[in-house]
Subunit: 290 residues, 2 copies
């Protein structure tokens, strides 16, 4: 069973009338466009992995061959993944991103910045990880931390936070202008579901390493985080770098949803296998004689 | 069906008596230790992917927790993959490496060096890609290019090539001293099988992008390449950074073989889940109240 409907319409953080949507507008228990249950969902994820993998190979092939679009640029895709802890970023990396060929995927995880990174503009550490032509870039957290936790915990003064939204828009415009399709997802789980998932980490010794006492501290700021997401999304949702809010109380659903968004972004590039830049018949003769 | 016997013994580039082995000593059509055929082999690969994935998560967990070995170092694994063109490096990356969690894998592909890289010592470009604690590093080609194609095509004078073997031994000793398990594999296919695979690339328009006319040029140096591999392996096969020669005329077999070598290297670390560095009971109370 496949997802019913265009995932970009189903999950976009903007109503059909153009009104920005925030996490409060999306129920994390829902599964937009998917009629089946968990077992079917897991089968769907596996079945569609092949399609995603083929499309990514096509993108990679075009990168190798150096084909360009009408504007003279190569093509690439950047998936930005933001979420509260335990929302399932790791599972997206493993089960969705992991189904693509690692040769053509550039993944980067942005944790607390280092001392050196702190002494630079907040976008500095991102730039080396912008995907090259032919690649799918995947960012596990991103520049959005600089307007999410920084806003909630007051790590940066508000006027500077406000400036950052514009800088982010410019940065993402620059990526789009250079041929990168940017999609940004917020995995949206409920506060209760997070409590259950943290409890499971505490119950299982093989999960203790994933538990961090500061995760409980952050729960006290849940509403402030949701508000910071709402503002960040409203400020930076654009046609060339859209935001999607993915209900994430069901891990299997959020994986299907992100997988379909990637498939849609890659299909949208409408790529063909690059033509040979050599004489095929002559090469066949040379090879046979070799 | 599993591989029969220790893959490190079956595939090591050194006889039980300690005599160095080269590609001429290994028949690329064989499948050491595996009794089944292709369909069984593909099922084995899939079944064992789970084990590899679990072990890699255990390594990653220890990296996050910062556990150390008796020497005070973290643990990591580095897989170096060398091969003639079409031998199946891409398939190893996709089907063996791709089954691990991309969060804990650092892969790097070393193509023709850039101008900047050429102006450095040949090991310079490798160092930033040495896996950090808790990671599996995977190198698609490596510093061995600097003693393989460089030797065959005379890109570097012989006395300098000779020096490089010692520098490579020192470099790999340094990695081992710091807690990295290094394993080096040569995917070994026959010259005839390469011809068939290149012919297939020419026959299929969706494979043209993988074809490079220079691949045929290099076939004229096949014997010289095999000799360069023999020397490089004999010069740099050590207990802490062993070489394995993997028969690769059957792609499915070479994937099982590399998968089992990775599993063996990870099992050898004998890791446990890291203990909690917080008070579990107290955290459960804090979480319940949050």
């Amino acid at each position: 069973m496949d997802l019913q409907g265009d995932p970009r319409a189903l999950l976009r953080a903007r109503s059909p009338e153009g009104v920005p949507q925030g996490p409060a507008d999306v129920d994390p228990d829902t599964k937009p466009g998917y009629l089946g249950g968990k077992a079917e969902g897991e089968a769907t994820l596996e079945a569609r992995a092949e399609r995603l993998s083929q499309l990514q190979e096509l993108l990679y092939a075009n990168g190798v061959a150096g084909t360009v679009d009408a504007g003279g640029h190569g093509r690439s895709v950047l998936l930005v993944v933001q979420a509260m802890d335990t929302a399932g970023k790791g599972g997206i990396m493993r089960h969705v991103v992991g189904a693509m060929d690692p040769q053509g995927v550039e993944d980067a995880a942005f944790k607390s910045p280092t001392e050196e990174e702190r002494r630079h503009h907040f976008l500095w550490r991102l730039r080396p990880h912008v995907p090259q032509d032919g690649f799918v870039g995947v960012w596990d957290r991103s520049h959005y931390e600089d307007v999410l936790i920084h806003r909630v915990r007051g790590l940066t003064p508000l006027p500077e936070i406000e400036r950052r939204y514009a800088e982010i828009r410019d940065f993402e415009q620059e990526l789009a202008d250079r041929g990168t399709r940017v999609l940004k997802v917020m995995l949206h789980l409920s506060k209760d579901e997070q409590q259950d998932r943290l409890a499971e980490r505490l119950d299982r010794p093989d999960k203790h390493w994933k538990y961090n006492p500061s995760d409980v501290d952050e729960r006290a700021y849940w509403d402030e985080y949701m508000e910071a997401y709402r503002i960040a999304i409203a400020e930076t949702d654009t046609e060339h770098a859209p935001w999607f809010i993915i209900p994430a109380n069901r891990k299997w659903y959020s994986r299907i949803a992100v997988q379909e968004l990637l498939i849609a972004a890659l299909e949208d590039l409408d790529l063909d296998w690059p033509p040979a830049d050599f004489d095929v018949a002559a090469e066949k003769r040379r090879l046979a004689a070799s």
